[in-house]
Amino acid sequence: MSKKDTQKEVVLTPKKVYNFCSKKKLILGVVIGVLLVFIAGAIIRGIHLAIEFKGGTLITYTYQGEINTNDVASAVKDVVGSTVVVRTGESLDSGGKQVTISFTSDQGLTVDRQTELTTALREKFAENDLEIYDSNDVNPTSGREFLLKCLVAVVFAAIVVIIYIAIRFKNIGGWSAGVCSIFALCLDLLVAFTATVVCKFNIDSNIVAVFLTILGYSINNTIVIYDRIRENRKLMPKASLNELINVSCTQSLTRSIRTSITTIGTMLIVTIVVMVTGYDSLLSFSVPLMMGLISGTFSSLFVAPVTWSWWMNKRAAKGKTSK
């Protein structure tokens, strides 16, 4: 920015500045609320890991004629009591048609239950002439290692992001701002995870995609607000931190709401289209992502700036008493 620009700069504070910093209790309430819902969801619904993370059994049957995977899934559900993944396929070496059912290990597929299942399926799909072709146990080690590696990658990315924010937002105390943005992100991820658990979705590689997307959105949202604070710090050097945050959040409010309408709206459209067309498997992607985005809008406007102001004010108070 050239000097000429700054000289004729008019600082235009919004007519009505909302007091974001006074909402500490609201944030605490939301965080506790989400945690409670999550714990309740985990206890009542349980956490369902997909076969690649949990291990389990893949049973393949050969069949004749036409078979509907959804019918097979519901028939299996009647016997085993939980939802399973069913795929159909065609053997390239023998040319026969096959249907594969995946069970995770907690579904307790003993040899007896397997026989029971086979009998039940053969009864129900008598005209399809089901024959057991193959039964494989799936080892969860590589799936678990994948999850762990994802976690390490995300934590590492978070650390690099904190360092980046610390450097770019040096003039407003970057380190604490970086840590608070990651705190806000954690809330968003928790919300998305809670949505997955409460809706009883399987935890499969879709959730990894959801988490990564939220990681990007949430940090971007928070940075836009920090950027406004950084700019206003220059324009209003005398303002207190809380004033600064309140003005900046108010100025960014329109943008935050409008951006959120487009992103959340997009996921809403995906959810509706998926429900109408019946490809339910995509719901485990769109619903948690939508919830995470809603949380992301809230957390970038409230959680990150407010926890940050609380931190900075506390530090300032400490500094005063020690002097």
Partner: protein, 474 residues
């Protein structure tokens, strides 16, 4: 900055239009029945197993071999690496220790001319044990196969890295493809030392050193001098593909045991057939919705934003099809779509931030030209920081889950992820790939192109009205 004139708008729009059309439709030519593809379009996108279904192969050890868990794990890693080298980034590999089997799934595209699942499966199951041996002696094993029997000098484990190169031949008259090897040089019994000892022993004799891939002899050069620098080259009638394949095989390592295909079949999509149509329908509705919303909110800058978004979506498609020559295409998976959604969302956000800024600056009473200029300048710092953090995330993910041979993987796998094997997980890589491509497009279209377009349009008399930019009428 150079002065942006009235013409600029049309030039930018024309550029975006050409780019969008070629990346969506592709460029190809029909000669009789032969279709030559110059630029790949949407039809050539490789869809992931979660969207399109694919091939399911079960491998097991050949014969009565009983593999232990460690061997199965290392075989699993080798297969994953090979899949990535083949450009199949979306894959699922499970191992089953009870029955000693490895189940591999990868996406399938019917009618893809340059992809042959059967040869890919064959390549995956090859043991790919590289050996350097003294002499060219062979014997016949119990099954009647000819197998090499010379004393082993080096195996694949002694090699640090291999790469395909196009180098002059010994007489310097011609160029040929070779595979250059760098031997491991740590410790006393390293590949470098062993190779130096063997070449020293055979120097000047009639006995060559023969190089074998499993039971096939690639070449048997005579030794002219002792090689002590830990470098070796394999030559022999290679072309670009075969030398790259050999280098990839050496890099991904040999399987710990011989494998054979137990079953081979096609599978239906994990997400349900036709799920792509549902996603596309949703994407179309969402895009139209966003377009209407942007034009309604920001009028002229909103209209420009929609053009820029078209460019950005085309850019994401182009990245996946491999439109850019320097970048390989990738497989489109659900996480990949998530990456596109995130990047497009960031693009919308960039336009909203700028649109809001133009309004704000107009309200402070600036002239239209000044307001546009300052708004883009101020909005840029927020857009820059937001997008750079996403670049950081994308690069880390691509490094952690990409092909181990790539630059970032090498750095990350030796530091942060030292505790993990060098795994190549396609789904996460796919996300990082589309996100990175999308964010770069966001800078090109969402920031640069849209600024050019808005500035250019504001030069027209009919677009001087401040209301068109969301300002007041004065």
């Amino acid at each position: 900055m150079k002065k942006t004139g009235k013409k600029t708008f049309f030039i930018v729009v024309a550029f975006i239009a050409i780019f969008a059309v070629t990346s969506v439709l592709g460029i190809d030519k029909l000669y009789g029945d032969n279709r030559t593809t110059y630029v790949k379009g949407v039809d050539d996108i490789r869809l992931g197993i979660d969207i399109k279904g694919g091939v399911d192969v079960t491998f097991g050890p050949a014969g009565d071999f009983d593999a232990d868990e460690a061997q199965l794990d290392s075989a699993t890693e080798v297969i994953k690496t090979r899949l990535s080298s083949l450009g199949i980034t979306d894959n699922e590999v499970y191992s089953d220790t009870k029955s000693d089997r490895i189940i591999v799934r990868f996406p399938w595209k019917v009618g893809e001319s340059n992809f042959d699942p059967e040869s890919a499966v064959k390549e995956l199951g090859e043991m790919a044990e590289l050996t350097f041996r003294k002499g060219t002696d062979t014997t016949t094993d119990a099954e009647g196969n000819t197998i090499p029997s010379g004393e082993i000098v080096l195996t694949g484990d002694d090699i640090a890295s291999a790469k395909s190169q196009y180098l002059p031949t010994d007489d310097g008259k011609d160029l040929e493809y070779v595979v250059s090897l760098e031997l491991k040089s740590d410790g006393e019994n390293s590949g470098k030392e062993k190779f130096a000892a063997a070449t020293g022993e055979l120097m000047g004799t009639e006995t060559p050193i023969s190089i074998w891939m499993d039971n096939t002899m690639i070449s048997a050069p005579r030794v002219n001098s002792t090689i002590t620098d830990g470098r070796a080259q394999i030559s022999g009638s290679f072309d670009a593909d075969s030398s790259k394949k050999l280098a990839d095989q050496i890099n991904s390592g040999a399987l710990p045991f011989k494998m054979e295909t137990k079953s081979f079949r096609t599978i239906s999509p994990t997400m349900g057939e036709g799920s792509l149509d549902a996603i596309l329908l949703a994407a179309l509705i969402a895009f139209v919705g966003i377009a209407v919303y942007m034009i309604f909110l920001y009028r002229l800058p909103g209209f420009v934003a929609v053009i820029a978004l078209c460019g950005q979506v085309a850019g994401s498609i182009a990245a996946i099809t491999g439109w850019f020559g320097f970048m390989n295409g990738s497989t489109l998976t659900i996480p990949g779509i998530a990456g596109i959604i995130l990047a497009v969302g960031m693009g919308v956000d960039a336009n909203i931030i700028t649109g809001e800024r133009i309004k704000e600056e107009l309200r402070t009473g600036k002239s239209l030209d000044a307001a546009i200029k300052i708004a883009y300048k101020r909005a840029f710092s927020a857009i820059l920081d937001g997008n750079i953090t996403n670049v950081i995330i994308a690069v880390i993910l691509m490094g952690a889950f990409g092909v181990p041979d790539s630059f970032f993987s090498k750095i990350l796998n030796k530091t942060i992820f030292f505790a993990f094997g060098a795994t190549a997980e396609g789904v996460v890589y796919s996300f990082g790939f589309t996100l990175l491509a999308g964010v770069i497009c966001n800078f090109i279209f969402g920031v640069f192109a849209s600024r050019l377009m808005v500035t250019s349009l504001s030069k027209f008399k009919c677009f001087k009205n401040r209301k068109l930019y969301g300002g007041d009428t004065k």
